[in-house]
């Protein structure tokens, strides 16, 4: 009986670790969390890319936080930014290293909308949740990562890039 309970507990623990939260990563989410919240939760970043992207490295994943604020969309920027106060989290990317076969993760992709990623990478797909705020990226049947972005309800805060290729 004890062995059975242990097995069930292990299965629950393993299963929950593999099922991503679509709303936040470790309680942090775009347009709700701030740079202070990130540092309070994770400590100082391992790397910074410019002033507005920070990286945290874990044994099995790299996690990026972006702070692409653009109050009143006043600045003309060549990438998507957001009409929010400075130091607001605007994006979170979780990139797995090494990558698992998606079939081994237990993630049910049938709940998500599948869209081909396009670009140079073949056989790569993004699976979106209902309000487009959470993306599971899969390439060649391997789990590449999770992407957290502002959803449909926050679309009015988007500042379009100033130029396209």
């Amino acid at each position: 009986m004890i062995r059975l309970s242990f097995l069930i507990a292990c299965l629950l623990l393993f299963g929950s670790a593999q099922t991503p939260s679509p709303s936040d990563w470790r309680g942090l989410s775009p347009l709700k969390s701030t740079r202070t919240d990130v540092v309070r939760t994770l400590g100082g970043p391992d790397e910074t890319i410019g002033n507005d992207t920070v990286t945290y490295r874990f044994p099995d994943r790299d996690v990026y936080f972006a702070f692409y604020s653009n109050p009143n969309c006043e600045r003309q920027l060549p990438y998507t930014s957001w009409n929010v106060p400075s130091d607001t989290v605007t994006a979170i990317d979780v990139i797995f290293r090494p990558q698992q076969l998606i079939a081994d993760t237990g993630i049910d992709l049938t709940k998500y909308r599948k869209i081909e990623a396009g670009g140079d990478l073949l056989n790569r797909y993004n699976y979106f949740n209902a309000d487009w705020s959470f993306v599971i990226e899969v390439g060649n049947n391997y789990l590449a990562g999770y992407h957290y972005r502002p959803g449909n309800k926050q679309a009015h805060l988007r500042c379009e890039p100033s130029k396209q290729r």
Binding site: Y79, T80, Q99, G119, Y142, A144, A155, P161, R165
Partner: protein
């Protein structure tokens, strides 16, 4: 232990980030970049279906600008 190439390949953001880090470590390149409008930085892509840059050419351009400097041939050679 050498890092394995991910099974899913590298995204434009990952390529831009690698090039950016290499550039930061190269004083000669940084001198060149600062004379030509400064460096541009990788940004996390916009995955929205409304994105104006669905294939993330912004990061591809960041990567190309750095790689082009050390390339013997034109980028479209």
């Amino acid at each position: 232990m050498p890092q394995q190439v991910p099974a899913t390949g590298y995204t434009h953001f990952e390529m831009a980030t690698a090039a950016y880090k290499a550039a930061l470590a190269d004083p000669a390149f940084m001198k060149y970049a600062n004379r030509h409008g400064g460096r541009t930085e990788p940004k996390l892509p916009d995955y929205s279906p409304d994105s104006k840059d669905p294939e993330d050419w912004y990061n591809a351009d960041v990567s190309d600008r750095i790689a082009r400097h050390g390339c013997r041939h034109p980028i479209d050679w």
